[in-house]
Subunit: 313 residues, 2 copies
Amino acid sequence: MPTFKIFFLGTASAIPTNDRGLSCTAIQYENELEIFDCGEGAQRAALEMGLPLSKECSIFITHMHGDHVVGLLGLLQTMSMHRRERPLRVFGPKLVIPFIALNQKMLNFGLTYEVIAKAVRRGTVYDSKTSGFRVLAERSEHSTLSYSYIFEQKERPGRFNTKEALRLGVPEGPLWSKLQKGAPVKSPITGRMVRPGQVLGPPRAGVRVGISGDTRPSSKLEAFFKGCEVIIFDSTYSDAHETNARENMHTTAREAATLAKNAGAKQLILTHFSSRYRTVGVLVKQAREVFPNTIAAQDRMIYDVAASFPSKP
Amino acid sequence: MPTFKIFFLGTASAIPTNDRGLSCTAIQYENELEIFDCGEGAQRAALEMGLPLSKECSIFITHMHGDHVVGLLGLLQTMSMHRRERPLRVFGPKLVIPFIALNQKMLNFGLTYEVIAKAVRRGTVYDSKTSGFRVLAERSEHSTLSYSYIFEQKERPGRFNTKEALRLGVPEGPLWSKLQKGAPVKSPITGRMVRPGQVLGPPRAGVRVGISGDTRPSSKLEAFFKGCEVIIFDSTYSDAHETNARENMHTTAREAATLAKNAGAKQLILTHFSSRYRTVGVLVKQAREVFPNTIAAQDRMIYDVAASFPSKP
């Protein structure tokens, strides 16, 4: 399993607190970095956590509220200070395009790299050419145009059975690599053809991570997140503030847990907590009553997906 | 002496570090708050330091670079979340007006209070009606239109000599207040007139705090800061990077000290440090060779002006 980690850079809603910065979550997959939302403080958290800001990178904005997008301005400039050369892709509601362009003009900053900003549409938003993943989008339900995303590791070839390869007369080296890539080879020892299916296990399905952004729970999102191993979900409120959740188009911890359960998730990570909660123990408790495998995100937390789902066939 | 404190909310240049956020300095004077520059992270630092965000407040932007102004967007919204009602004044280069207006439109946020944004000109920028101070501006020398500011406490009446008042037959009460405000009163005991000059010491000059923003040192700024007790100055570089200071239109610690010495300051506070310096001890040392009363700002530092200059006549 390649490197596959989730970095929590900011886990507060609306207003930062002493412990929590504004929304930002990053996924490092092999050498590529995908950033979901970019609230104020994202660049500082990224520097503190040592994220590779000059590597292949895309940014996905869920919606154009300040606490999810203002940090983009500083992050763009800091990437430039770090002499980034690779183009940076930014996806989001179409307003993200003038947001970048107008602020770049008003704040008069040049960049050492190209920014490719695109409006998101439902479906596949980004298909990585260099790493084995894609990012999908679906509309969510918030007070402004908003999207949820899925980071989807692509299906990988089955495990390579080295013993069987040797038994069939294929020595370690370029021939193994050919077989792993799905091509038949001729054994230099037996002179017989060996097919990939003889030495490869069944293809391994990718692991999927769902990221809700700000939203009410919905049957559409539940369907979208079906089959996600990990779901990171808006958990702004506890049961006591269910009315606020409805009025402000957010989700309670319990509602997030219900959606995760119905979607068949293996792990729910609550985030985007209202600053009214000094600790979020009550929210975790309420969620666990519905879906036991719940944890609360906190700033600087790293969730190792590769270590958590090592043996997916 | 009324409350008169300087809060350092961000002391890094360009890129934040683990220890330093982007430029922001605030002065609390009695019940009024003046904020100088508003780099990313300002709202979080303000909340952590407990600054009174719903009180009378003005914001002064030195120049329109992202690391000095991006934090304004989050701060405006957080003040609104805190149900601010008083108007907020924002002064800066004229681009600050569309910067607020266009971002407010793109990020679609309403505010619970009025923002009065104005272009700065040299001279008196703001004259407080409720507290005894004014803020002055002068052009500084940076790579874009930029200003330095002085926070100037107004002259206050001399000390009231209570013993002398009693001796002259003026009892404690409304008559004392009249005398303190500069009006003559008639003694109810002696029947004679008592003039303010008989019971008041000489007027007490106000304390002045100079804030450079990003700039090269200049004779114009030296003249502007003449008579400032406290100077907070751009100290991006050490002697070793003097060339960078010239090229990037910043100041070395030693140059800041030379200006402070020539301006007759009592206290120099270095700030806006390049992220290349893990510690700024060398910069303080180089400055002290010229101007001994030098300290380095650090994030969350509070400098009590009232306590430092209690006995100014």
